[in-house]
């Protein structure tokens, strides 16, 4: 394949980007990438025919935490997989034409492939943590894809925004998952769904569900996290069509739908979903009115559709689940083609601003056809799958008592959706409002025309013959019902007959359709005045919006970080030492006071058995130990007297050698040995450095001797606390079982008589390996600091010579 690729990249040699790093891709490599989703689609269709759902596959992954690498394929997963692989195939073909000759097309395909695999993992995972892993992977690949044109600042900003919003939502969700797994004692999703209806709504469980909802809402761009999705339109069109319309943003809906059987009976779950969904559906559609960019208009209508999906999940009843499944399918079949159409228009006419576009049907007949078919489905005209979905929604709504908010939100959504469909399908292709200044516009190549046409046609075919989609929609709807619910099939039969062979309750149906269409048409015809009026009003309210809050938070974080850093990391070593000593003294002393029962319940029962501080029995120390202690004390006292740093370092060395002697006499020759060596190296290095500093003319005496009493106080406080701790811990006899074990097993298990060394290199070898790595890394971290110090000095030193 590499050879083909190299050869054909020459064919694209005319592209200016060839000079950049990276190569244009040949047809063969593009086809090879496209084969992946196509093969996955074929495999999926075969598997759906060959196997009974649900299929489960699991293997232990982290047995100590009870996490399985578990995957489960049921109706809902199958529906999502169909979208991922079906739309994915179209996107991969489309990307081949859209970025033909682009030097980084390979990177795009790589990221798209990674994204697709993450999505497949996400919608089949049957373990919370496996799901989370793939979920985060979609966020990361989305970041890469939104920021594909990373030379553009807006692109980078949007990518960062998408990552920050969905990433922080993902963190909240992770916390929720941890709580869920604790509450149910398992992280298996199907087990949790089975157990949840019987579970009591404890505060922990409620918090868990709320956190999971935050994660789902950020991913699916629900109010108030809606602002990131239209900005993510900075991505290339195939990415927008795939990630930000057909698949990734539906993950939030998927998760909520997946958990609906578990928590769907909770009142606040229903209300939250309905309220947030309705608010998003209505408000996002209104925001679409603000836009002039076709892609952003479509993006807002996508947000609104996601809101509708969340709303529908929040509705109880079989009809609602059927409507969710139908709308998921319908939306993918009309919105992805419309995005493709927007991409084609951008690609061939050079702009996506609707004011500059018009009358493109002659130049781009096939694109216009695809737009028309998709637009019909989006508007919900009969004989399209959009109509089937709309009918399902209406019947689901009719079955429930609805909040007024839901009615309003859905009403606004329905009407403006029709208008948006009109803008995308009619205005830019059939109306003369656009300038005639687009002589260069011409039809896009086949790779750009085929995917939207096929997807839009599929929408029409399924609309005409809904029974094809019926088994899938029924299976998906069943997956949104509690496990073990009896009579699911019966409960679903009626709404499904209704959905798939549209009810001929003609009066109500036509009435609803007519109302939506008429209002939609009015919005369509008055799009421009509405746009101007709304833009004026909304422009004044921008500072209230969550996008503005996001920007504020983004600015505040580094500012507060700088504030705290300036306060805490001021770079004065003496102050650090004093703070460290005083804090340690306070904590140790406090622990002893608390533990001793002086302030509360006792912890050190052995040491404070009698109510007071029980000191260890007095045993006179040997001469050697006394000598070592005297040496330590001498060194410490001398260090407090001298002003020259060199002398102080030597005194500190005395303390070190004194402690080494103490270790030696106390029976720890290894430690003593190490201590001697460390002290020697330390004194040599420190003394040499100080000598050099002196030669460089730096002062080597301490700067402010007046601070000494304070320093003495801090040192005394710490010494007192430390002494107390040693006394307290010494009062309890030390448990010798561990050292006895090591002494006993050292020779038979590890062939070594030096127990310390055997522990280091054998019993606890992994710890030692980690410590070695830390030693190396800490050197790696300090080396640049030392080097930059020298650089700074070097440049200063050279200046006078000039």
């Amino acid at each position: 394949m590499a050879g083909t690729h190299d050869h054909s990249s020459g064919g694209h040699g005319g592209a200016p980007g060839v000079a950049l790093r990276g190569h244009a891709m040949g047809l063969a490599s593009r086809a090879a990438f496209t084969l992946l989703p196509a093969a996955a689609l074929a495999l999926l269709l075969w598997a759906l025919g060959a196997f009974e759902l649900p299929q489960v596959w699991r293997t232990p992954w982290v047995p100590s935490l009870g996490i399985d690498l578990a995957f489960r394929l049921d109706g809902l997963s199958a529906l999502m997989l169909l979208l991922i692989t079906g739309v994915g195939t179209g996107v991969f073909i489309y990307a081949g034409g859209y970025l033909a000759g682009h030097p980084h097309q390979r990177r795009l395909y790589g990221a798209l492939t990674a994204f697709m695999l993450a999505m497949i993992g996400c919608v089949t995972a049957d373990d919370l943590f496996v799901l989370f892993l793939f979920w985060e992977m979609t966020s990361l690949t989305s970041f890469l894809l939104v920021g594909f044109n990373h030379h553009d600042q807006q692109s980078r900003k949007s990518a960062q925004q998408a990552l920050l919003v969905t990433g922080s939502g993902g963190l909240a969700m992770f916390a929720g998952f941890v709580l869920l797994a604790q509450a149910f004692g398992t992280s298996s999703i199907s087990a949790i769904i089975a157990a949840a209806p019987a579970a009591e709504a404890t505060p922990a469980l409620t918090a868990a569900v709320a956190l999971v909802l935050v994660g789902a809402f950020t991913k699916s761009a629900q109010v108030p996290f809606h602002f990131w999705l239209p900005n993510a339109m900075a991505a290339p069109t195939p990415v927008s069509a795939y990630l930000h319309s057909a698949t990734m943003v539906k993950l939030g809906v998927y998760l909520v739908a997946r958990l609906d059987p578990a928590f769907g009976a909770w009142d606040w779950w229903q209300w939250t979903l309905q309220a947030v969904g309705a608010l998003t559906a209505g408000w996002a559609m209104v925001l679409a009115l603000r836009e002039r960019d076709l892609k952003r208009i479509l993006a807002w209508s996508t947000v609104a559709t996601l809101g509708t999906l969340v709303l529908l999940v929040g509705l109880p009843g079989a009809g609602a689940t059927a409507a969710v499944a139908a709308l998921l399918l319908a939306h993918a079949l009309y919105k992805a083609p419309l995005f493709f159409v927007a991409g084609n228009v951008d690609h061939e006419a050079g702009t996506r601003i609707i004011d500059r576009l018009g009358n493109l049907r002659r130049a781009m007949p096939w694109t216009a056809t695809a737009a028309l078919l998709a637009g019909l489905s989006m508007a919900g005209i009969p004989l399209t799958f959009g109509f089937v979905a709309k009918d399902a929604i209406n019947s689901a709504k009719a079955a429930e008592q609805l909040l007024p908010l839901v009615q309003i939100g859905y009403g606004v959504f329905g009407a403006i959706a029709v208008a948006v469909a009109g803008v995308a399908a009619i205005r830019i292709f059939w109306s003369h409002r656009g300038m005639k200044e687009l002589p260069k516009a011409h039809e896009a190549p086949i790779a750009l025309v085929l995917p939207p046409l096929v997807l839009a046609l599929a929408g029409v075919v399924l609309g005409a013959v809904p029974s094809i989609a019926r088994p899938l929609v029924v299976a998906a709807a069943e997956a949104m019902w509690p496990i073990g619910t009896t009579g699911v099939a019966g409960a679903l039969e009626r709404p499904f007959d209704h959905v798939l062979e549209p009810s001929f309750d003609i009066a109500s149906m036509v009435g609803m359709l007519a109302v939506t269409l008429v209002v939609g048409a009015v919005v369509y015809f008055f799009w421009d005045p509405l746009h101007r009026a709304f833009d004026r009003v909304a422009g004044r309210l921008d500072w209230l919006g969550s996008a503005a809050h996001y920007a504020r938070i983004l600015k505040a974080i580094p500012r507060s970080a700088a504030f705290f850093t300036r306060g805490l990391q001021h770079g004065r070593l003496p102050s650090y030492s004093v703070a460290l000593l005083l804090a340690a003294a306070a904590f140790l002393g406090g622990a002893i006071l608390v533990g001793g029962g002086l302030l509360g319940a006792g912890m050190f029962d052995g040491a404070f058995a009698g109510g007071g501080l029980a000191l260890p029995a007095w045993t006179p120390p040997s001469v050697a130990i006394t000598g070592a202690c005297l040496l330590i004390t001498l060194g410490a006292l001398l260090a407090g007297v001298f002003e020259q740093r060199l002398a102080m370092i030597l005194c500190a060395g005395i303390v070190g050698f004194g402690s080494a002697l103490l270790f030696l006499f106390a029976g720890a020759p290894d430690v003593a040995f190490t201590q001697f060596t460390v002290e020697t190296v330390f004194v040599i290095v420190a003394a040499s450095v100080l000598l050099k500093l002196k030669r460089l003319g730096r002062t080597t005496s301490i700067r402010d001797p007046r601070n000494r009493p304070g320093a003495l106080l801090a040192a005394l406080a710490f010494a007192t606390a430390a002494t107390l701790v040693f006394l307290v811990t010494g009062a309890d006899p030390i448990d010798p079982s561990l050292s006895a074990y090591f002494s006993e097993r050292s020779v038979p298990d590890a062939n070594g008589r030096n127990v310390v060394n055997v522990i280091l290199v054998d019993f606890r070898a992994l710890d030692t390996l980690g410590e070695s790595t830390v030693v190396m890394l800490s050197f790696l971290a300090t080396a640049p600091v030392l080097f930059s110090l020298r650089l700074a000095r070097g440049s200063r030193g050279k200046e006078p010579k000039r």
């Binding site: 055997v758 050197f779 640049p784």
Partner: protein, 171 residues
């Protein structure tokens, strides 16, 4: 090699050459005896650091750096960590868990030699400590060297090439 003449201590400069090798030999001895007597890789490494730092104090940090194996403390430390990490792998071949040390008697004809992966592990610790700590010490000692000085940079990856060139140039 620019070094201020007043920084030189002729006696130390002369004595340090034999001393360096004696200390290194001692450090290896400490490393090897460590399994049964007081000693081991960590202490041995520190003693070796003593030798390097001594050389650095007497004849200049970059000269001491060139005397290190691989001529670069980072590389030395990395090789050490790698050796320790690799020493755990043979355990897999006998079905034991990572870092379960394997040993056997190597017949040499006249005697038998006890060989164990634990030696490789400890030698890795030795090299890591030697490289990292002496790199740190030499870095401190070098703060009055000119920044542009060849091979004076502790962390730069170009260290090896330049050290070889420098060594050749000095001859």
């Amino acid at each position: 090699m620019k070094r201020r003449m007043n920084a030189r201590v002729v006696v130390l400069e002369t004595v340090v050459a034999p001393l360096y090798w004696i200390i290194l030999a001692a450090s290896v001895w400490i490393l090897l005896r460590g399994h049964n007597e007081p000693g081991g890789g960590f202490i041995g490494g520190l003693v070796a650091v003593g030798a390097t730092v001594l050389w650095g104090a007497a004849r200049g940090p970059s000269s001491a750096r060139h005397k290190l194996p691989f001529g670069d403390p980072v590389l030395l430390a990395a090789v050490g960590v790698l050796a320790s990490a690799v020493s755990g792998i043979p355990a897999w071949f006998v079905g034991a868990s990572y870092l379960t040390h394997q040993s056997f008697m190597l017949p040499l004809g006249f005697t038998e030699l006890w060989v164990s992966t634990v030696m490789l592990f400890d030698a890795g610790v030795y090299l890591c400590v030697w490289g990292a700590v002496s790199g740190f010490g030499l870095g401190l000692l070098a703060i009055d060297d000119d920044a542009g000085d060849e091979g004076a940079d502790a962390a730069a990856p170009r260290a090896r090439a330049t050290t070889k060139a420098a060594r050749r140039a000095r001859r």
